[in-house]
Structure formats: C-alpha cells, structure tokens
C-alpha cells in the first residue's frame, strides 16, 4: 500500500472533525473522496499535508511504509506528497517563477539531488507550462496575485507536474472553474497518471469525475468513510444526492 489511513481522529480548535477515518490506496490508483460540506474533506487533505492546528487525536497514517504524521510539511513535500489546494494562497512580492525555482530546488536538495540552475529551471518550467496554457507573463507575476480562479488551479497543476509527486491530493480542484478550465485542468491531471503515482481527488460534485475517472470512490460523512465503491458510486450520488445515499447502510 502506498497510503494507509487507519482510524484517524482529528480535532481542530478543540472540535472533533475526523472521527475514525480509514482509507487505503495503492500506487497507480486514483481514488475519489466525496462528501457533503463540513464532512471533513479539507481537514483530511490538510492533515495529510501536515498543516499546524490540525491535532491528531488518534489513529495512524502510513505513507510508503513510513509514519507520515511526525514529518514537517516540507519533509512530506520532498518525499513526494503534494496537495493542490482549494484556495491557493496569494503571496505578493514573490514572483511565480522565483517560487517555483525555490520549491523545486528545496525538494531536490532535501532528496540529495543536485540543484538546477536558473536556466534549467526556466527550460523545465516552460516545457511543462505550455501544455497548461501558462505563459511567460503569468510566471513573472507575483504568486497567485490577481490570478483568475482558472489560472490559480492551472498553476497548482503545473506545480504537480514539476514536482512529480508520488502522492497527489487534489482538494476541490474543480471549484470555481468553468467547463473549459475544468477540462484543461483534468487533462493536466490525466497526463500525470502513472503506475508509480497515487492520486486522491477530493470533490463535492461528480462533475470532475467525468474527466478524471477514479478507480475507487469513498464517501466521507461526519468524519468517517461511510461507503466505498467503484466509479459508479459517484454517479449514484449525483443521481440521488448525499442525504439519500447516506441513509443506506454501508
């Protein structure tokens, strides 16, 4: 197993959000996590990425056989954990290209690989950016500042493409995207599917899953996985709605 989450309990600001979540995923698979608002989807993504303030009160997370939980966010990133955020942060004063170069080299350094010089970073970024329709001008702007919703999400996928993670978590990547932007982002994700890589696609709606077809679907409600199934489960959810599906015992 690439990722094993066992009986995970998480509190945020004293409030219990995840209450015994269990989940496992093999390399090469794409899993979807679906759930209504407030079910704990974003909390799961933040806990996997190591955000402060998310207190693990019980359970375990194993990633490639290692305990993930004591690692700092940057260690996890260097070990191949990537979180595409629902709301990518705007950082005025740091150009996108500077940020990409710094992150790329920090990860390489942490893995004991040689750093890339500015020219090679630029070549690499250009090569990956074209497919996502990200132009030079965008790379010169401050990170995410003044970017449209679609631009922000494309930039997240570009980073996923550059960092080549083992485990990619996509948190509501479809939110705020029109259909063209959605297709572009999905295409970017699909080209990154590989036997070595696992992807956890977190979404509220089934729509995204028409374009990124999952191997497994997990339904998250009130902090636990309440149902699991193949891609057809997503369609069932779409058709009947969460309240109806959640009535059925798992």
């Amino acid at each position: 197993m690439m990722l094993e989450v066992k009986d995970l309990h998480v509190t945020v600001g004293g409030k219990k959000i995840l209450k015994g979540l269990t989940l496992s995923m093999k390399a090469g698979e794409v899993h979807a996590i679906m759930g209504p608002n407030g079910s704990g989807k974003s909390t799961l993504s933040y806990v996997l990425a190591g955000r402060e303030g998310y207190e693990v009160a019980g359970g375990s997370v194993t990633y490639d056989g290692h305990n993930l939980l004591p690692m700092k966010p940057e260690e996890r990133a260097a070990k191949g954990v990537f979180l595409a955020m629902q709301y990518p942060v705007e950082i005025p004063g740091v150009t996108t290209l500077t940020f990409l170069k710094t992150a790329l080299n920090a990860q390489r350094r942490a893995r004991g690989e040689s750093e890339l010089d500015a020219m090679n970073v630029l070549k690499f970024v250009r090569q990956r950016a074209t497919a996502l329709q990200i132009n030079e001008e965008m790379l010169k702007r401050a990170l995410n500042v003044g970017f449209s919703g679609g631009e922000k999400k494309r930039l997240e996928i570009l980073q996923m493409s550059l960092f080549e993670p083992r485990l990619a978590i996509l948190d509501e990547t479809d939110s705020g995207l029109d259909i063209d932007a959605l297709k572009l982002v999905a295409e970017g994700v699909n080209t990154l599917r590989s036997p070595q890589r696992g992807m956890l696609v977190i979404t509220h709606y089934q729509r995204l899953l028409n374009y990124i077809v999952p191997d497994r679907v997990h339904v998250l409600a009130e902090g636990r996985i309440v149902r699991e199934g193949g891609k057809e489960l997503a369609l069932e959810l779409e058709e009947k709605g969460y309240s109806e599906v959640l009535k059925v015992p798992a």
Partner: protein, 379 residues
Amino acid sequence: MSAALAPIEARRAEALDSFRVRGMPHRRFEHWRYSDLRAVLDAGQVAQAGTARWQISEIPDGVEMFDLSSGGAPEWVVKNLGNIGNRPTMEEASLAFADGGVALRVPRNRRIVEPVRLQISHAGNLRVLIVVEDGATVSLSELHTMDAGLVRNVGVEIALGEAAEFSHVRCAPPAPKSFNVEHIAVEAGRNARYTAHFGNFGSRLSRTELHILLGGEGSEAHLSGVTVLGAELHADVTSHIEHVAGKTLSTQLFKHVAGGRARAVYQGKITVREGANGSDSRQTAKALLMSQRAEADLKPELIIFADDVKCAHGAAVGDLDADSLFYMRSRGIPEREARRLLIHAFLEEAVAVIEDGALRDIVWRDVENALPRAMEAAK
C-alpha cells in the same frame, strides 16, 4: 577668517546657543518618546565627536561642489547653510560642531543622469547641503560605513527649486555599538519632487528624521524605507511632512522587521496647513515582529487644517501569514527558507520603488546581510 564666512559663523554661533539651551532630546520630547537619546549619550560626547569624513569618488559633469571646511563660501552656500527647515536641536548641534561637510549645486535646467555617490565614514558631526535649482534633476546615494563605537550626527539640507527633482537613497548598515543621528530638511518649490528611500539596519540608537516642507504648489514627496533589525539594534524613522501649498502630494511606505531584542520605530506626521487645498497624502507603515523580545512602535499622525483634502494612513504590526507559510512548506520549502522568502516579499514593494537598479541592489544586499540576525529569536 574671510568676510564671506561671517554670516555662516554667526549662524553657527546661534546654533551652538540653541543646542546648549535645549540640550539632548529625550523621551519626554513627544517625538523622541521611543528613542531616548539623552539616556545613552550626553551633549559633551556630541560636541567632542569632531567632524565625520565624507567622500565623493566622482563628481558628475554639471554638478558644482563646495567643501564646507574651506573658506570663501559661494553665495548659494551662505544663503542656505543652516537656514532650511525648522532647526531641531540635533541639527543645530551638527551645524555648531561640524567643521566641514559638503555642498552640492545643480544649476538651472541641468539634468544629471549619473547619481552622485556620497560616502560618510568615521565619528563626528557633518553637514550636507544640496541645492537643486529650477528645472534641474539629480540623484544622490548616501552610503554610511559604520565602525564600532562611534557617534555620528549628520545634518542634511535640501533646497529644491521650481520643478526640480531630487531622488535620494540612504543606506546605513548595522552598527550595534554606535549612535547614528541624521536630520534631513527639505524645502520644495512649485512642482518640485523629492523621492527618498531609507535602508536602516540599526545602531545602538539610530534616528533618521525628516522634515519636508511642501511649500510650492504641486510639489511632491515620496518616501519609502525598509528597516531590518536583529540583536539589540534600534532604528527610528521619524518624518514630518508639511503640506503648506495647494495640490501637494505625499506618499510614504515603510516596512520594518525586528527580531532578537531589536526595536523598530516609525513615526510619520502629516500636517496639512490651512489653505493647502487639493492636497493628497497617503501613508503606510507595517512591521513584522520575529521574536518574543522585539518591539515595534508605529505612530502615523494626521494633523489637518484644510477641508479639501484626501488623507489616509494605515499601520499594522503582526507576524508572517500562516497560510502563506504553510503553502510554501507544503511545496517543499523548509520553514526558515519560507520565512526568509516571505520577509523578502513583505519588503519588496518598499524596495521596488528605488528607480536606480544599482542602488536597489545595494539595499537588497544590506537586507540579505541583516536578515539572518533579524530572524533570530532573543538570546
């Protein structure tokens, strides 16, 4: 003593009397409340500090220079020296005790492209006079070299004629055991423009004080600065911009970072005098605290006596944004590196306004040098 020097000598004698009566500023002076100079330095030490040294490696064509330690001052020096601004006590001291300094003049309509590079070194008092005549343009970099244990007190006067433009970058590297006081007085004529940037990296007590008189209609002042401090360093930037004439414009943008046990101070006072209609003033001061023992003090002040004005100020103290920090770390950037980048980003807009690339690089270099200390917690 030559006859031409007599008015200057008279003015110096007056300055000496004025300093003796008022003495060293201390925290009971409202504008010195965060920088108690008298507590760390006495008047005798200023009087006995002698004269600091200055150097200009190359005078650009078209700029007239006069060494204030030599005799036979030209009329433009006699007229202006010691007569610009509101004569605060430390400026009077520099006039009284400095046996030298430099005066520069850019004649009417001369546009000087190459910046004048002024270096100031050693302990002591010093005077600088800059006269930019109508329609003339020049820029000045004022770089301080700071050695341990010195007392420096500089008085700078800047007279800007009609539509004159002057841009000024001042950089003072850290000097933990020194005292560094500078007073800059500016008088701006009609449509004149003063642009200045201050890179402050702290002393045991460092004070940069500006008094800018926007006396001519349409005149402008644009100030920016960064202060990056660690250890027990102190830096105080205090500005007072007076909008006297109509349609005057001032902007200010200051960013301060303090770690260790450092103290970063910004006081910015805007006065809009009666009748200065159509004036516009904006002021932003932000500080980041990096340690439990550091302190930031901000005092943006608006004193408005005219109604047809637009004035606004914003001030904020805080730490680095937690979301940005997490975002960076989640992309593999180690915490310290992420912090450094975010501090850079915080300072960026205040440095970016420096037009001259070489001067901008000097400020960034000093920022880089100061950052490791500023990012340290108190020992």
